[in-house]
Subunit: 271 residues, 2 copies
């Protein structure tokens, strides 16, 4: 490896191919453009690859003919970890704010992103492929070992009908009559804290649109035993801020109470 | 008041003038443009005004000659509240991300925003007036009763020299050797939770640049008795995500443990 391989290897790429010693991985045109034009990395330079299954690997670039370069896998540098963070169901908002929700939710450990069109949702067109591309880039940059799953949009009734009852749904909803359960208390209840054991229940957050959920929608959710309204504080947060705040609280609670063991069950780190 | 005054009065504007019954308030050109062109509100329509001192007032627009409309103050609708949330000291990042830090910090209750140029800060030009405009708009939209103060940029040594020792500085710094104190524990320690009394100490967060603080900078901070390194979880957060996460945790802890009394010491709400 060249002298600057450590610095080069800060470039992480998510690939779909299997990863193992000596394996050759084809890169997409987008990845090739990023490596060659943006990062100015040529043949021989190092990158890190992960695919969500086989861990993270050091690889080097190799030019093959006139097409995009290949990556030749060298050695495992980090074993795969299970990343089963909370799901985030969210009403799409304006384009930039929706992008932000996806990017921040990925950084903050969400394992599944589920767009939900509610009655007051204004932005009804969602490009799931585009959101997946944003999630992939965020996962590459933040050091995650997996990319969150991005689902096709559902309506709220369809989401409710498909919801696994074992997964708690914490609904951030401002302006309800009674004071909602503070979010940290709701998370603590889920995980039976203090604990070092597995969580009693996996979690999810549901973030409504700017105009909030309607009374009929709140009634629908009230019929789900797994759903609970939670409060994020006294101020009126935008939808994207509420999404980041909810996931930040989850991350912080995991970090504080069970030392990250739940979020990052490792099969052993090599570095 | 016209029939739709309730809907109209969802428009909140921050003004510098004193507010009281019958008072006439001049609006800026920017505010006039927003009211007339964006919100399409004309003479007679209602707005809410606040100035960070006199509470929130219902007012109506009045055309006076050819200039921007005036606002005529009618009645108090919400008493002034003390909003002494944490300070946020942050290394400026790219323009969009810095804007985001300011907007989200305002929504999440920060009372003072202090740009800090550190050794690894790439974005060294900060337009404090522009940041104040962003904070003002965010305060108008999220229902705050005040706009956070935006300071001119300091260097880190200047910040350290000027720091009030009674204010705890929680420094979010990734990748230090020892595991840092989880942020929720650090906040809980500050406020001697569980408690319903005043906090023992006011708080601040310091968020470094993308490249982190240097060893020399960490040494400098280690010399401040009020400074403590805190951890936000296992993943590598972007600077703007770390800022939002830290303030979200503070808000959630206040909400969970002392019912918001600390953040929103009210002199009595009228609605």
């Amino acid at each position: 490896m060249s002298r600057d391989s450590q610095a080069q290897s800060r470039v992480r790429l998510f690939v779909s191919a299997a990863l193992g010693p000596g394996q050759t991985v084809a890169l997409t045109d987008g990845q090739a453009h990023y490596l060659l034009r943006v990062m100015r990395l040529g043949p021989g330079r190092s990158v890190r690859l992960f695919n969500g299954r086989d861990g993270e690997w050091l690889a080097h670039l190799k030019q093959a003919g006139r097409g995009p370069p290949l990556a030749v896998v060298e050695r495992l540098i980090r074993s795969q970890e299970v990343e089963d963070g909370p799901w985030l169901a969210f009403a799409p908002v304006k384009k930039q704010a929706t992008d932000f929700i996806v990017e921040k939710a990925t950084e903050l450990g969400a394992s599944k992103l589920w767009p939900v069109v509610t009655e007051r949702t204004v932005a009804r067109r969602v490009n799931a492929d585009r959101l997946l591309a944003i999630a992939t880039e965020a996962a590459e940059q933040c050091g995650r070992m997996s990319v969150p799953e991005v689902l096709a949009p559902s309506t709220l009734p369809a989401l409710a009908a498909a919801w696994p009852q074992r997964r708690a749904m914490l609904v951030a909803h401002p302006g309800t009559g009674a004071a909602p359960l503070p979010i940290l208390d709701a998370i603590a209840n889920l995980y039976h804290l203090p604990a070092t054991a597995e969580p009693a229940k996996p979690a999810a957050f549901l973030i409504g649109p700017e105009g909030g959920l309607t009374p009929a929608e709140l009634d629908l959710l009230a019929g789900l035993p797994c759903a609970k309204i939670v409060g994020l504080g006294g101020l009126t947060l935008r939808a994207e801020t509420a999404a980041a705040a909810a996931l930040s609280c989850w991350q912080a609670m995991v970090e504080a109470r069970i030392g990250g063991a739940m979020a990052r069950r490792s099969t052993g780190k090599l570095e």
